[in-house]
Structure formats: C-alpha cells, structure tokens
C-alpha cells in the first residue's frame, strides 16, 4: 500500500514527487511512457514567465508569480540550465499599446516586480533586431528561459534518490475506490494507494473520470516551433513576445538556455498525442515571427517540433482535492513557470486534507551533472585525467563526451533511448541532429545496458532505429 500515487511524470508530476520525497511517505509515480517528461513538458517554449499575463486573482496568477523565485532556487540546487534574460511584449498599434498598458497594470496587481513600459527607442536599444514599427513594449526583467525536460528530470531524479518509486510504461487503465483508498491498474500491475494525484497532462480528464463524476474536459491545442542553430542564438537577447490573444501568448522569438533561437508557437486544436508540425502551422509561425524580428534567418533551422497545451474547459488551473483524489489538471501556460508553486500548493492541500507530512531525517536536495563544454581548460584536463571517457567527444556539435553519456546512463532514472540520452546530456541536440553521433550513442547505450543495438529505440517504445541485415 502506497501513501500517494502520482499519475504522470511530466514537470507537474515530477515537481510534486520531488516535494513529497522529503517526507515520510511511500510514494509511487506512474508514467505511461518509457521516460519522464514525454508529454507537454518536452515540447514548449521553455519560458519561466514573469506573471503579468494571467488574470488577477486566478491560481495561475498566484502560482506563476510565486514560482519565479522558487524555480530559480530549484535550478541552482539541482543544476538545471536556467537564465533570467527578461522578456518584452511588443505592441504594433495604438490598440496593442493599450493592451501592453493593461498587462502592466495586471502585472503590478499580480505582484510582478520590476515591470516597465518602454518607448520604441528604449525597446530598440535593448533589442536592436526588433521591427521598426513597434510602438512600445512591456519589459519584465524576471522572465527566464530554462531547459524544461532537464528541470523535470532533475526533480524526478532527486525524488527517486529520496526513495520515490518511479514506474515507467505503467499506463493507468482503471482506478477503483477501495476502503483504504484506491486500487490502480497500471500497466500489468494493480497497486493500492491511499491518495491519488492526477498529473496526467493532456489526458487528465480521462483519469479524473475514472474516479469522480465528469467535471471538465482537456482541449488539447498544439503549437509548432522552429529551433535555429546557435549562429542565430543572439538574434534576440530577451524573450520577445507579441500581445497575447485568447488562444495563447502569440508567436515568440527567444534565445534558448542552450544558446539556440526558438521561434513559435501557433495554436491549433488537435487530438491527444498529435504533435505533428504541419506545413500550415510552420508557415504561420514564420509569418508571425518576422513581424517581431524581421531578420531571422530561417535557413539556420535545425529542427521543427510541436507540443501540446493541455487547455481545459476551465479558464484557470484545476487543482482540487476530493475524497483522497487530487486533480492537478488543465496546467496550460504558464504551467511550466508555475510548477514549483503548484507543488507547494498541492503539498498544502494534502496537509489540509489530513495527510500527515513529517520530514525525513535526511534527504538529498542537490544534484550536479558534468558539463564538459562549460568547463575551463584546467577542469577539462583534470576530468579527462580522472576518467579518459571524457576525452572522447561523441557529439561534435554540442561537444558532449562519452563520459557525460555514461554519466547519464548511470543516473537514478536510467535512459533507454537515444532521445532519453539527448534529454539528459544534449547529445544529438545540435546542428547535425545526431547524424554523426546517433550511431555512436546507440552503440554506447547497447553496450552499457547489455542489449543489442537493434533493441535501442529512438524515442517511444517501438521507435526502433535499425534492423538486422539479412544474409
């Protein structure tokens, strides 16, 4: 019997698992995919928003603003790439200037520090590549960029280190109410837990309906992106937004925390699991992006992708506990930016609902990861002397060594796919997109895991890469 079962190991499930891992609780996380951060968390704008956008008085506003500092602290503690680069919302007309002023007022009400409205000249001085017809801009210095999947991984890894059990490929098929709590059929097994926390992202409504009367629906909306080479990574210095609309925050242009340029997303209703980036989606993104930053060189594109927003029939996040079942659903934007605050809020909600949380005598609350590329010449020399595997560069584009790949494989959540390696140490994330290092990563994974190369998947289970040659 578990105390708590968390369903879904995206950034929300990971954040809650991390928080609960400090307490004397028997916690399990059930994830349907073969790795963590496989849903909404793996494909989004990767922004920690400052918090001026959500309507006053909403959970979104409260938890977003609360999370800005919490996220920064967590990233420092757990060695997650994070850069507080600030954001600009551009206005292109009098009407949009008015909108920018409303955002400013809302931000002040929400408690966002440091907001300023910039004239065209001030904005242009800060961000020289923006369009000449910008009328004014809202500057939010606390906005940041982050690596979202590494953030989720770091939280989940730390939770596992502290004794949380993570079950991958454990899709929840049914949940039955029992006298003691819940019986959950996940994958091949049935487990029992006193409390269930539903963090199932784009499928949270399905999980909810297994336990409680139908109350909301998830309305998935996909957004497509361009990711440009690092040669374009200095095209902007800040996250450059356009005025938000009902369907989303509009197309943004921003450096990523890795130094690339991200451009997107559009917003299109989609089916659960549909992450195709269609020709129309991409064309729209390009058209809108050059409105903000006309000089983007799309020839430097290295990857397109699309992610899903778990929008819901509710305007706000759905965080609610009833009869031992806690929904953390409809965590649309600013979900990533609010994850840390959501976990704190859920912890309080558990306490309020009679869950006794006593802190463990000891637990791990730090994490580090070797990053060869970021080391000084001296530090590189030292680590290669200690472990010659750091002397073999496998991913040329991102300068990722065999030492880092092996470190990834030996982490608390074992990666079994080429993309799982990419999420942990960035091998294959560069301009050749794994063209050179792909075969070598397959070889290292197969060797370290003791399986054949044909058994290594690229991404989801079943996404095999190579087959035996026939005689």
């Amino acid at each position: 019997m578990y105390d708590v079962a968390i369903i879904g190991c995206g950034v929300i499930g990971s954040s809650i698992a991390y928080r609960l891992s400090k307490f004397n609780l028997k916690t399990v996380v059930l994830e349907k995919e073969n790795d963590v951060a496989m849903g909404c968390t793996r494909a989004n704008s990767a922004i920690i928003h400052a918090g001026y956008d959500p309507a006053e008085g909403t959970l979104m506003a409260k938890l977003n603003v609360r999370s800005v500092d919490l996220t920064k602290e967590l990233c420092e503690k757990l060695d997650v790439p994070y850069a507080q680069i600030g954001s600009l919302v551009l206005a292109f007309s009098d009407e949009e200037s008015e909108h920018v002023r409303r955002l400013y007022d809302r931000g002040v009400t929400n408690g966002v520090p440091g907001l300023r409205i910039l004239s065209y000249d001030e904005a242009k001085a800060m961000e020289p590549n923006i369009a000449d017809n910008v009328t004014c801009a809202l500057y939010a210095p606390t906005a940041a960029v982050i690596n979202p999947w590494e953030y989720a991984l770091a939280l989940a890894e730390t939770a596992v280190t502290n004794g949380v059990e993570l079950r991958l490929e454990a899709e929840v098929k049914s949940i039955a109410k029992t006298d003691a709590g819940f019986a959950i059929t996940a994958g091949e097994d049935t487990i029992e837990a006193k409390y269930v926390i539903n963090c199932a992202g784009a499928e949270a409504d399905v999980i909810h309906d297994m336990v409680l009367p139908h109350a909301f629906e998830i309305l998935p909306s996909k957004g497509a992106y361009y990711l440009l080479d690092k040669s374009e990574g200095t095209r902007t210095k800040h996250v450059v937004f356009q005025c938000p609309t009902k369907v989303g925050k509009g197309v943004l242009v921003s450096p990523t925390v890795h130094g690339n340029l991200i451009v997107g997303p559009n917003a299109a209703d989609c089916a659960v699991g549909d992450t195709s980036a269609g020709a129309d989606d991409l064309a729209f993104v390009r058209k809108m992006a050059v409105k903000s930053v006309p000089s983007i060189d799309f020839r430097q594109n290295i990857r397109n992708f699309a992610g899903v927003r778990p929008n819901s029939t509710n305007d706000d996040f759905i965080i609610h506990m009833q009869d031992g079942f806690c929904d953390v659903a409809g965590i649309k934007s600013p979900g990533l930016a609010s994850a840390a605050g959501i976990a704190e809020y859920v912890e309080q909600m558990l306490t309020d609902n009679g869950v006794v949380l006593t802190e463990k005598a000891s637990y791990t609350d730090t994490r580090t990861q070797p990053r060869f590329k970021e080391m000084s010449h001296e530090a590189r020399a030292e680590i290669v002397k200690k472990d010659p595997k750091f002397g073999r560069v496998i991913c040329r584009c991102e300068t990722i060594t065999e030492g880092e790949i092996i470190d990834s494989i030996r982490r608390p959540i074992v990666p079994r796919t080429v993309d799982a390696i990419k999420r942990r140490c960035c091998a294959g994330m560069g301009r050749c997109q794994g063209g050179f290092c792909g075969p070598r990563v397959v070889e290292i994974l197969a060797r370290e895991l003791g399986v054949s190369r044909q058994d290594i998947d690229k991404d989801k289970t079943g996404s095999y890469i190579v087959r035996e040659r026939e005689d």
Binding site: T275, I383, P388, R392, V393, D457, S463
Partner: protein, 413 residues
Amino acid sequence: MYDLAVIGGGPAGLAAAYSAYEKGLRNIIILERDKELGGILNQCIHNGFGLHRFKEELSGPEYAHRYIEMVQDTSVEVKLDTMVIEITPDKKIFLDSPSGYECIEAKSIVLSMGCRERTRGAISIPGTRPSGVFTAGAAQRYLNMEGLMAGKRVVILGSGDIGLIMARRMTLEGAKVLACVEVMPYSGGLTRNIVQCLNDFDIPLYLSHTVTEIRGDKRLEGLTVMEVDENRRPIPGTEMEFDCDTLLLSVGLIPENELTRGAGIEMDPRTNGAYVFENMETSIEGVFACGNVVHVHDLVDFVSAESARAGEAAADYVLNGPVKGDYIRLVNGDAVGYTVPQKIHRDTVADKIDVFFRVRSVFGKSQIVISSGDTEIQVFKRPYMAPGEMEHIVISADKLKGFDTVTVSAKEA
C-alpha cells in the same frame, strides 16, 4: 611547437600532410577524431574513386589506404581518437583525447574537417517525428561499418550522390527503394550515379517533387510526396502516398566550420567555407583550408589535388615565410554560384591558377567566360554543365596580373 598541424585525417588532411612532408616539412601532426584515418571514405565501400588521381577504379577504403600508406612512410605524427575543441587566431590548438586534454601550438595549420549532411530540420519537412528518418550518410555508416539495416521500404529525398549510392546499396541488401524524390528540376548528383544507381535498378526519379508530410508515431509509417512549382511550392492535387518505413535524406552537405568560425577566420556565405587564396590560405596567415571544409566536392580525386596545394603552401609558409602583397578578387558573374579560390595573390608563385565553381542551372553547349569589366580574359567551352557537377578551369596567372577584380560567368554558347 609543430611546423604544421592538420585538423582531420580524411582524404584532405592526408594529402595535405603528405605534400607538406614532400616539400620538406618534418614536424607535422595529423589530429583525427575517429579511431582510424581515412574519414568518410571508410564507409564508402562502392567503387569509382581514384580514376583521376591513380588512373584506376578504387573503393573508398582502398583510396584512403593508398594515402594512409604514403603518410605512414613519412615521419608525420598521427594522433587518433582526438577531437580539436578550439583553435585560436595565434594557432594554439586545444584538443581532447582519452590520453588527455591539452593545448599544442603550430607554426601553420591546415583545416581539413570535411562536411556534414543537411538534415530534416534544414529543409523543415512537416509532419510527425518518428524514427526511420536518416541522413543517407548515417544509413550508410550503419550498413557498411556496422552491418545494420536502416529499413526495408525506402524513399530517398534528394538526388545527391550519397543518396543515389545508398539507393543501389539498400536495393542490393534486399530493401525496396520506392523512389528518389528531388525538389529541383534536375538531379543534384553525378550523371553516372543516376544511371548506375537508379536507372539500372528501375528506381523512379521524381524531379520537381518533394516530401510534404511525414507520418508515424513511433516508426515512420508513410510519406506524402507532391510536385512543386517553379518556386518550389507544392502543387495541390499532385499528392502521392508512399507506404514506407525509412526516409533517407540526401539534401546537401555543409562544410563543417565551427572551428574556423571560432578562430575568427572570414567565411564565404556562398560556400559556407572560408575565403581562400589560390594557395588555399585563409584570412589568417599560415592557416590553410582544403577539401570539403572549403567547398563540397563531387570527387575525392579533386579533394586530394586541392589539399596537396594546401600542404605545399603550408610548407612554403613555414620554410620561406608568407606570400605578401595585395590580391585579385574573383567575382561570381552570371550563373556562377561561387568560386574557389575567391582571392589570388598578385605576386603568386603559381603560373597556373586552378579555379573551381558550380553553375546555378543546367547548361547545354556553353561557355565559361573570364573577364574584367569589358575585357574578356579567357574563354572555356563546355558541352554540358550542371549544378551537380563541379567545374574546373585553369587560368594563366600572367593574364590576371593587371586586374583588381576578375569575373567568372557562364552562358549558353
């Protein structure tokens, strides 16, 4: 302090190191990231290499082996399993290898890092992101080096030479190659490869077509191919569906110049390689570049020839000092996409200047015209020219000396 450090031990680096040695340099090191010399030739097990250089037809590994043996008979030092991380403008080289992370210095450097393949991202193919989408070279490595098949039912996008070679190779290994799809109205590869790799195996080539959608959640399940108009936009109503598990991309090569850019060397946006003089010297004195890192070649034989010139020039630089004085600029005229070299030292010691370039479109009977202003300097006749085939002309240095800029252009005769 080395006299010469050669970055990359593929065909370009081997030829450069060998000719620098022949010219009298002794303290030479080749830095190679792989565990063996030869570069990409090691996975090119088909024949057709060496017809110009050795007057016989060799496989890629055989061609590489000739040069490896030549270099082995010299005192050139070879450091394998070694990746150069950074080059500074004052010729310090930071390198990483299992034997240690270190910094070496050299009086001259030859850059011969080769090129990489353009990927799906570079051409933004819409759709899902399943496994089964490979660059042709990655599939070639799996098959020829590791004995593993990329897939069974294959579509090839792009008619570059590696794609064409892989169409034949996959067919011979039992795969069904359904089509080769090329967005341009002409092939990007050598005519001989179209004939020997597609026509001989009845593999259809769809010119002016492209892949417009990729489908499949886990492994690739299918593709849509559409005809494109003259602006390369898909024409509605021309959709063709392919049921396949593999898409190989042969959509161009990009010189791999991150080290070059890091050193602050001036780059030509047309070649994606460094600007070079006739002796293959870059904008940093004593740093030379050759082979596919400068511009993408069709034939390794020409890589070897160009790299020999770079090696000789490096030796000359170390032994006799730099070539001084101003230079003549080569300008791209009508229908010419780029030239290598882009600059010619006015006081060059060479009496003949090799100029390489590609035309932008297909030509029948045609002329290559070397001119400056209204003055026609030299004219070369060609029966046929195509972007897929690199052109090579030899200009007498004497004829250029009086000019500041010289234009290379092409026209129908």
